[in-house]
Structure formats: structure tokens, C-alpha cells
């Protein structure tokens, strides 16, 4: 049922990034959302905030847990999906598309990310744990 688009790149912490030149769009995967359960709150950074790759840029909160969101690549936030912060429960629908989290202006080329095939293999192993 899960569909992980080929054009995205994935992290072990279950974020994805869509790269277009020096612009990037960041979200979290449907697998992560299933693990979290009902999402009740999103804490996202202000436009203009700068992060290193792997740095926490916000949190996603369900009734059971809060998880940090990690930057797949270094960059500066250019846009925040404010319609999502107002209705965080919507993230369960189309998390790889219209319900992205932030847009960033990238610094350099992102490295150390998984392809969709690698990511699907990775989460299959995670689920078996």
C-alpha cells in the first residue's frame, strides 16, 4: 500500500527530500506517520532559520510520543507549510506530496541519503525488529 516515490531521497529517521537544483522540499514518510499514530501538533522553524544536515529542525507530536524532525541536508528554510501546522492531522493524507513540511535553499549537494528502494528495504527490516 505504501508508495515511496522514486524522485525522493530518504533518511534513516524517516524524512524525505525532493531536490531541484539548489531548492529542496522536506517532509516525513507515510511509514513514520503510521508509527506515530494520530498526529496532534507540529512545531516547525521560522523562515530564515539555518540548519546543518542531521540537525533537528522541529518536532512532530502524536498522542503517544514526540519525535524530532531531522534535516536531510544542510540549508536555510525558505517556506513553511502553514496550512499543515494549522491542521496537523492532515499529514496522514498525501505525506509525500502536498503535505510537505518545509522548503529549503540547499547548501551543497545532499549526501548519505537512501533511494526509495533502499528505504523500503530499510523499513522492512525495522518492522521485523
Amino acid at each position: 500500500m505504501n508508495n515511496y516515490p522514486k524522485e525522493l531521497h530518504y533518511t534513516k529517521e524517516h524524512e524525505w527530500i525532493r531536490v531541484d537544483g539548489t531548492d529542496g522540499v522536506v517532509g516525513i514518510t507515510s511509514f513514520a506517520i503510521e508509527q506515530l499514530g494520530d498526529v496532534v501538533h507540529l512545531e516547525l522553524p521560522k523562515v530564515g532559520s539555518k540548519f546543518k544536515a542531521g540537525e533537528s529542525f522541529g518536532t512532530i507530536e502524536s498522542t503517544k510520543t514526540v519525535s524530532d524532525l531531522y534535516m536531510p541536508a544542510a540549508g536555510t528554510v525558505t517556506e513553511v507549510n502553514t496550512s499543515l501546522t494549522q491542521a496537523p492531522e492532515d499529514i496522514a493524507q498525501d505525506p509525500h506530496g502536498k503535505n510537505w513540511l518545509i522548503k529549503v535553499s540547499l547548501e551543497g549537494t545532499p549526501g548519505n541519503l537512501m533511494t526509495s528502494d533502499q528505504y523500503m528495504k530499510y523499513i522492512a527490516e525495522e518492522a521485523n525488529h
Binding site: D38, V40, H41, E61, T63, E89
Partner: protein
């Protein structure tokens, strides 16, 4: 479903709205004394007064009695039956202790009363201090912290002060993966960072695992003993020695002290600090979530840093002193949750030294009985000697429709409180049972029979249903956040 049919299902449980909805102008719940001095209008005294009276309810005395009595019938309690929450030590609360603590003799005193009037209270504190030294074999005690987590914070502040006095700053506290959530939270609040050690397959910390992370930045290792799997940390002496060799300290979380009264003393294996939870081990009532009391005991190394004020004997008198320059200061106004000290003091007097040991022996026997009765139906992930609590998981139920949460929720329909679930975190879908020493065999059997019946009828959905309120919608609560009553006006 025979067992379920046998429970009554006929309780008189009534609806009762929030008090604000029954409020009527003119209803009076209490009479005030008549004023025997000239009445002063607040507006004559203050430049500005409160703009609008606070919307407190208006109800008569019998209505208030009913309001809260009806609400009380919606609660489960240790007075009703077994409350096998692992690591919470829900034992019987003797009522003499309640009567004495609430009597005017004890409850009307003020901490700033003349010292001569306070001698009895200070004597109770002194004797409790000696009791706690005896239980731990440790030389210093402070009764000041208000709860277990507060004791943890205080203990870790002592650890920080110890290293600071040696002219260094150590930033890291080691914890085990069996630790309570309060441990890392307390460490962070005391300014430390956390490094977690994984326990071995036998459920305890191994010296090799410690050696791999031990360095000169480690301020202390913090671990519960016996740990939250109900297993005694058998390498604790070696661990203590390894830590002390690096001048790092050993913090023992005393949450599970109910297992070792008179059987093992942390001071004997070199513990440097331990917090007590008087509301667990020493039976002061949980009160639906407090008040607790979290005294600490410390080794000689940490005595100079204990909070102020401290109890001291000056001839025949007991006094409070605060002239210890290395003290971390105060962690709470006044002297601690004194009302809880009295209850714990009464409890210890009622049992005596031998009785305290009998408490732990019976607690261990009961936990082992639970283990013996459930080990064939639930999976025991770690097969090590059980002390006061036993941890299973739902592995045997993977092929059925049941899991840990469902088992817990269905137990409610059998008229009993579930065990702790999904903790400790090192066991996936943990089922953690601590019966305590105050459960009889027949009450334990009631629990065991209920669990067995649930496991043999896996396809019941929708529990609990035989309760005042069924499953509550926690998602709605978190999304809509109604944290106060919405008044109509």
C-alpha cells in the same frame, strides 16, 4: 465467560456534572464566623481591586458532599482490590497513620513555631532519618525532597556539587535502558547529558558494557536496584568499584526498595546516593498522584553537600542548622512533606526491624507466585530470579487478536486495575506485574484467573465496557485542548 458473569455489575454509580453546572446563586456551602472588628471595604485600602468575583461554584454542604462522593465512585483504588502496577508499589495504606497525621497535634504546627514547641516534630524527623540510615547502611539523610523525582534531582545536584568541589565539571550521567523516565529528565534538569547503557540478555548491567563507556567525563551511573525487571543487579559491587576507581559516583534509584528491606543495603556495596519513595516503600497513600515524599540517603563523600537546613542534636534539643558552606542549598521551602514523614514513621514503628524484612520477603514471594501462575501463558523474555516484580510480554499472543494494551484494557472489565504496560522500554510490549506483600493469595488468584480467561477468549473487542466511562478519546483531548470549564457567561 463464567468468571466475568460472577462479578457484580450492579454498582450504584451516578452521573455528576462539573460543580459549575450545579451552582446556583445564593447557595452557601459553609458558614464564616461573624466579624468582630470593624468591616473594611477593600476599595478603601487598595488602589485597584479585583475586577470581577472569581466564578467559584455556589452549592450547599450536602450537595458538595454528594458531588465529590459520586465522583469518588468512578475511581479504582487499593482499598477496592489488587493494583499490580509494576514499579509503583501499590500496597495497603494503614489508617492509623492517616488519623495521626491529620490530628491537630501534628497538623496544626507551623515550621517557624518556637523551637521548644517543635521538639516532638523534630524528634519524629530525627527517628525517621535514623530508620532510613538503617535501611540503606548510609551515613547521611535529607528528608527535604517532596517526591521521588525531586529526590533524584536533589541527588544529582549533590553529584554535580561533589565534582565541582574537586575543581572539575563532569557532564555525563550513565543510565541503564531499564531506567524510569524520571532518571534522564532529572539528570537533564541538573545540567547533565545522558548516555544509556544496554543491559545484557540476563537483564542486568555488565561490567564490560560499563567499561566501554566509562571515562573521566562520567559524573555518575544511575540505576534502579533491583531494576525495573525485578532483577537484582548482580554485578553491582564490581560496578561500584569501577566507578569509584574513576572517582565517578553510584546513584541508586530507590523506587524498588520494597524488594530488599533487611535483605541488602545499598551502602554496603558502595552506593553514594539513593532516593526513597515514602509513598511506595513506606506506604504513605498515593492519593491519586501524590503527595509523595522523596528523602535521600548519601555516602560520606556527599554528606557535606546535603540540602539545608539539617537536623542536629544540641544536648537534649534537636535543632535545624544551615551553616554548611558546601551545601547545594534548599530544594523546597520549609522542611519537606512532613505529613508524609509521620505516616512513614508510624508504618516503620508498626513493623519494626524484623517486620520490614517480612515486608520484602512477602513481596518477593507474591511476585514469584504470579510468575509461577502466568509463565505458561505469557512469555517471560528474561529468565532470571524474580524479586518483587515480574515482567512478561505479549509474544505468545502475536498470532491472536490480543496484545499488551488489549489485555490491560480487558482486565478493567474484570473489576481490577491493570498492571504497568509498555515499560520498561527494553522489553517490547512489556507486561509488568508487582503484586506487593499486602495481597492475599485469593486476590492474586482473582487476577491470575482473569488474565487466563482473557488469554483464552482473544476475540472480544471494545474493552472496557463495564465501566462508568468506556475508552476515552485521547486524540480529541490533545487536539482540542479543553483544559478548563467553559463558562456560559
Amino acid at each position: 465467560m463464567d468468571f466475568l458473569k460472577k462479578s457484580t455489575g450492579h454498582a450504584v454509580v451516578l452521573e455528576e456534572p462539573p460543580s459549575f453546572e450545579n451552582s446556583r446563586p445564593g447557595a452557601v456551602g459553609t458558614d464564616l464566623p461573624s466579624l468582630d472588628v470593624p468591616r473594611i471595604d477593600p476599595q478603601k485600602i487598595y488602589k485597584k481591586t479585583r475586577s470581577k468575583k472569581a466564578r467559584l461554584p455556589e452549592l450547599s454542604e450536602p450537595e458538595v458532599m454528594r458531588h465529590f462522593t459520586r465522583m469518588s465512585t468512578w475511581n479504582y483504588a487499593i482499598d477496592l482490590g489488587i493494583y499490580p502496577l509494576g514499579s509503583c508499589t501499590m500496597k495497603y495504606n494503614p489508617r492509623l497513620n492517616e488519623e495521626i497525621a491529620r490530628s491537630g497535634e501534628l497538623s496544626e504546627a507551623h515550621p517557624y513555631d518556637p523551637i521548644a514547641w517543635s521538639q516532638g516534630h523534630l524528634r519524629v524527623m530525627w527517628e525517621l532519618t535514623e530508620d532510613l540510615k538503617g535501611v540503606t547502611g548510609m551515613p547521611g539523610v535529607s528528608l527535604q525532597p517532596a517526591a521521588g523525582a525531586h529526590g533524584e534531582l536533589t541527588g544529582l545536584m549533590l553529584v554535580a556539587a561533589y565534582h565541582k568541589a574537586k575543581g572539575r565539571q563532569r557532564k555525563t550521567i550513565l543510565t541503564a535502558d531499564t531506567a524510569h523516565g524520571t532518571n534522564p529528565a532529572s539528570a537533564a534538569l541538573a545540567g547533565f547529558q545522558i548516555v544509556q547503557i544496554a543491559t545484557g540478555e540476563d537483564g542486568v548491567i555488565h561490567p564490560e558494557a560499563l567499561a566501554a563507556v566509562l571515562n573521566d567525563d562520567i559524573a555518575a551511573l544511575m540505576t534502579t536496584n533491583p531494576n525495573t525487571l525485578g532483577i537484582f543487579e548482580k554485578n553491582i559491587q564490581t560496578i561500584a568499584d569501577m566507578l569509584h576507581e574513576r572517582d565517578a559516583l553510584l546513584y541508586i534509584d530507590g523506587a524498588n526498595l520494597n524488594a530488599v528491606l533487611g535483605l541488602s543495603r545499598p551502602g554496603d556495596f558502595g552506593a553514594d546516593v539513593i532516593q526513597f519513595n515514602l509513598h511506595k516503600t513506606f506506604s504513605t497513600p498515593h492519593g491519586g498522584g501524590g503527595p509523595g515524599s522523596g528523602p535521600i540517603a548519601v555516602s560520606e563523600r556527599l554528606v557535606p553537600f546535603l540540602p539545608i537546613p539539617r537536623l542536629e542534636k544540641k544536648g537534649e534539643q534537636i535543632v535545624l542548622v544551615d551553616d554548611t558552606p558546601q551545601s547545594i542549598g534548599r530544594v523546597k521551602a520549609f522542611y519537606g512533606n512532613y505529613g508524609m514523614f509521620i505516616r512513614a514513621w508510624c508504618y516503620i514503628r508498626a513493623l519494626g526491624g524484623e517486620g520490614l524484612r517480612a515486608v520484602s520477603e512477602n513481596a518477593i514471594l507474591n511476585a514469584n507466585y504470579m510468575r509461577s501462575q502466568l509463565k505458561d501463558v505469557l512469555n517471560l523474555p528474561i529468565n532470571a530470579p524474580t524479586l518483587h516484580e515480574v515482567v512478561f510480554n505479549d509474544r505468545n499472543q502475536r498470532e491472536t487478536n490480543l496484545d499488551t494494551t488489549k489485555i490491560a484494557k480487558r482486565l478493567i472489565d474484570y473489576g481490577m486495575h491493570p498492571m504497568t504496560v509498555h515499560f520498561p522500554l527494553c522489553v517490547k510490549s512489556a507486561i509488568m506485574i508487582e503484586p506487593t506483600e499486602t495481597e492475599s493469595r485469593s486476590e492474586m488468584d482473582r487476577f491470575v484467573n482473569a488474565v487466563k480467561e482473557i488469554l483464552s477468549t482473544p476475540n472480544v473487542e471494545q474493552a472496557p465496557t463495564r465501566v462508568f466511562r468506556e475508552r476515552v478519546d485521547e486524540t480529541k483531548a490533545a487536539r482540542e485542548l479543553r483544559l478548563t470549564y467553559r463558562f456560559k457567561d
